[in-house]
């Protein structure tokens, strides 16, 4: 990495603090099946009446990043204009046998696995073009995964504002406290993107953090 790029990255958090944009490009990140597209659909349905894409129980349903521009969120007289990028789930391994457990043929499963690997690469590339990140974690799962650690580390290294969304609080074994304990340096908002639970608090935090 060149010295100029290193210096730019090192001071990016200061630079961004002084140069807030009118329109923020926000990436929705997280591991597969954390509820990223469900959250993107919830936000779009609430503020534009549209949806971002299809959701599924099969991991890696989103295998291409999707961009929706000009989503205006208004809360308590404060508004923020967002371009929202719904990214494919990040993973360190992709085994096509996992997809076959959902009834797919070997050919179909291998194709999905190949597309999923491309999606992971695309999601990582997007990190360089964002102004902030909504990191979605499944509150019923252990938050100390390598994917979570790597994404949070990269967002911190780039000096991007980060909001952690502890999703699926409608499920009985959800524990947003576990996520707070794992990443105490970042704000954590517990929600259910599917049921819309606590979603107004998330919009308030988005307006506060990215506005």
């Amino acid at each position: 990495m060149s010295v100029i790029v290193k210096i730019k990255k090192k001071f990016s958090f200061l630079f961004k603090w002084f140069t807030k944009k009118d329109r923020m490009k926000i990436g929705i990140y997280g591991p597969p099946n954390a509820g990223k597209t469900t959250l993107a659909n919830r936000i779009l349905r609430d503020w534009t009446g549209d949806i971002m894409g299809s959701v599924s129980d099969v991991p890696h349903e989103t295998r291409r990043a999707r961009l929706r521009e000009g989503v205006k969120i208004e809360v308590d007289g404060k508004s923020v204009m967002l371009d929202i990028v719904d990214t494919p789930g990040l993973a360190t391994k992709i085994d096509f046998h996992e997809f076959m457990k959902f009834g797919m043929s070997e050919e179909e499963a291998k194709r999905r696995a190949k597309e999923a690997t491309e999606g992971v690469i695309e999601a990582i590339k997007w990190l360089d073009d964002l102004d902030g990140v909504l990191m979605v974690m499944d509150a019923t799962e252990d938050p100390y995964t390598q994917v979570n650690v790597t994404i949070v580390g990269n967002i911190e290294a780039r000096g991007l504002p980060l909001l952690i969304v502890a999703n699926k609080i409608d499920l009985p074994n959800a524990s947003p406290a576990r996520i707070r304990a794992a990443f105490p340096q970042h704000p954590v908002v517990p929600i259910s993107a599917l049921k819309g639970l606590n979603i107004d608090t998330l919009y308030r935090e988005i307006a506060e953090r990215f506005g």
Binding site: T117, V149, T150
Partner: protein, 117 residues
């Protein structure tokens, strides 16, 4: 003797290597079925690059990806962000079909290494 080969790489050796050199070395060893232990780990950017290159190497038959075990980065604060070196913490990397995380917290990692492929 049958077993799993562990490569323990010191911080001194890692410090002498360029990012891509480190990542290529890790991937080559892991693809051969070895477990790589890095004394000082990788930076978050290197971890992301490692995932990216891993995705390119997945062949869906012999190599399905990697398992990485490392601790979260410690918060650096204002001056740490400016003057900090950005080095990572102890990291263990292995083939996904051999290395499995059992339990993980910010100070403790329990993992299982299997002999079979």
């Amino acid at each position: 003797m049958e077993g799993v080969q562990l490569n323990l790489i010191s911080k001194d050796r890692l410090d002498k290597m360029a990012s891509m050199e480190k990542i290529r070395m890790i991937l080559e060893e892991v693809k051969r079925g070895k477990i790589v232990v890095l004394e000082s780990g990788l930076t978050p950017e290197e971890e992301a690059k490692l995932i990216e290159l891993t995705m390119l190497e997945i062949d869906h038959d012999k190599f399905v990806g990697i398992e990485v075990e490392s601790y979260p980065q410690k918060s650096k604060g204002f001056f740490g962000k400016i003057f900090g070196s950005g080095g990572g913490r102890l990291t263990v990397i292995g083939p996904a079909n051999r290395l499995k995380t059992l339990q993980k917290s910010d100070e403790f990692i329990e993992a299982l290494v299997s002999l079979g492929r």
